[in-house]
Amino acid sequence: MADISLTNLNKTYPNGFKAIHDIDLEIEHGEFVVLVGPSGCGKSTLLRMIAGLETVTDGEIQIASQRVNEREPAERDIAMVFQNYALYPHMTVYNNMAYGLRNKGTARDEIERRVQDAAKLLELCELLDRKPRQLSGGQRQRVAMGRAIVRDPVAFLFDEPLSNLDAKLRAQMRLEIKRLQHRLGTTSVYVTHDQIEAMTMADKLVVMNSGAAEQIGNPMSVYEKPATQFVAGFIGSPAMNFLPAKLQNNGNSVQIEGGPCLTLTDSVKSINGNQSVIVGIRPEHLVPMPTGAIGFAVEMIEALGAESLVHGRLACNGTDVTLRVDAATDIPSESEIRLHVSTDNLHVFDADTGERLN
């Protein structure tokens, strides 16, 4: 049974701007769902609609099998962690966590028990009497988590909770949140624009673009079989390379513009003539090889330690391309090399609609 289900959800702002288009989403019990997309894609709006902070124009939100469209946020049995944590600055950590329970009229010793339990879980016991401004970023983050945990809700909602932390702390908190969620088994919806966060944390990934869900699936399947050119470009870092091409041979091969003809392992369905397409190749699937089919002019090399990113242009049509190679590979900068393309990993997209074809 789904904990949260969104049916045909729409949101139009009074000024006519359509923020959310026909979103359908089922979130199973205990699932960690990540909404990811560029800024302005509507991912935060969608989360806030689930939270009850934004109204729903059309469609239905169900939490624990009950329609909640018209309910106040506090009556939806959810808890939210905000981007800036929104800890009440004049209250102690303890009161910050207890405030929601007090408003619900929970008994005093029950509040005490829950707050102490959450504090133990999050290692906040020594900090309960402090004010938020006396805490570090990571500690505030944990208090915000604690405030969500004490309410024992059906679902946690996270609105870019790590974006205010520095890189190291972010990686650590990412792990901590994921571990905590595993332990508590609470359904979670998590919004981020960081695709690494999205890939590592999600059980189910929802890639959003201009108010619509472009693809929903588990992170690896989204990575391996992106449904649209947008998803292919957004998920994965460095981004996928896109080469203009034409379909040949009844969709069994693609002719790279000005370059070689590549045979496809999975042929393309429904084609008309030699249709224009975009071929996507991940940076790790372009391999420098003296016998390679494509000429490549190296422009710049970024050494990341274990691996290097090589930036340059294709000799045949001048497209900018990035490769990811082992750091041991010796490539002189400003040189001409040949690249081998592994045809198992080609992604073919319609040049007009961006839909995946193979």
């Binding site: 946020p73 009556e75 408003n103």
Partner: protein, 282 residues
């Protein structure tokens, strides 16, 4: 700017001390005059050192009163002034914080219009609307009452405006967090907004208390009964005695007494006051 040049340090201190002396001089003269018997002040040489009549003069002023002021003891007027200043300060803060809350946090028809109407009253201080206000107060039979002294001065655009600006700097996330925590509008106001505005309220209280205390024209108009005279308006009455000499020693004592309460308010609340005016975000 941190500099370490002895001459500049000396010069800036000299200028500051000079400024303080200039400000303090009249106060000193007033204080000295209030401690002398009347005939000493009327002589050609004004005394610059305190006399020996301190207790006598102040006791007379506080308990018996002065002729020109209707023979009401000053303690009564101090009380009247305190009641008026406090009701104005508290009333203004109460009304304006609530109206700012409504304007910032609620979406109702004509919200903008309401704000601009309130804002426009900034252009109509007491002196401009004094005749119609007097008419209203008289018709409501509020002449010679504390209500008549304070209520017409309570409506305040300045304070509403200040609170509105402050509320707009409070992050929306607090409101959203409070909604998630099940706090209704009034609970949010009481539990979150009010504690956050503490320093602003203190700063406004100081300003408004002094504003209320220094009211002159309005009390002069609405009070005809000596029992409701305020201390600030009475100083003028004491000077304008129709015949005979003004009793300078008592007038100066009154002036000194009239200065004390605002001074105490400022001194007691100065830490919060400065915080409220300078602090932006915690």
């Amino acid at each position: 700017m941190v500099e370490n040049r002895p001459f500049i340090t000396f010069l800036s201190h000299a200028v500051l001390i000079l400024g303080v002396l200039i400000v303090l001089m009249p106060l000193w003269v007033a204080f000295v005059a209030s401690t002398h018997p009347p005939e000493n002040i009327m002589t050609s040489r004004v005394p610059l050192m305190p006399g020996d009549q301190f207790i006598k003069n102040y006791t007379q002023a506080l308990t018996v009163g002065v002729d020109g002021a209707g023979k009401v003891p000053l303690s009564r007027m101090l009380f009247n002034s305190t009641v008026m200043a406090l009701s104005i300060a508290i009333g203004k803060i109460f009304i304006s914080i609530l109206s700012a809350f409504a304007i910032v946090y609620f979406r109702f028809p004509f919200r903008k219009t309401c704000f601009w109407i309130i804002f426009m009253t900034l252009m109509l201080p007491v002196e401009v609307r004094i005749l119609p206000t007097f008419q209203v107060v008289a018709d409501l039979k509020m002449l010679n009452t504390y209500a008549g002294l304070s209520i017409p001065l309570i409506a305040s655009a300045t304070a509403t405006f200040l609170f509105r600006q402050f509320f707009m700097t409070v992050p929306d996330e607090y409101l959203e967090a409070a909604r998630m925590d099940g706090a209704g509008p009034l609970k949010f106001f009481k539990d979150i907004l009010l504690p956050l505005s503490r320093t602003n309220i203190a700063a406004l209280f100081v300003i408004l208390f002094i504003y209320g205390w220094n009211q002159y024209l309005w009390p002069l108009l609405v009070t005809t009964n000596e029992k409701y005279y305020t201390i600030v308006m009475v100083i003028q009455r004491m000077v304008a005695v129709p015949d005979g000499e003004p009793l300078w020693h008592l007038i100066m004592a009154t002036a000194i007494l009239a200065m004390l309460p605002p001074m105490i308010v400022v001194i007691v609340m100065q830490r919060l006051f400065v915080k409220g005016l300078t602090e932006t975000e915690k």
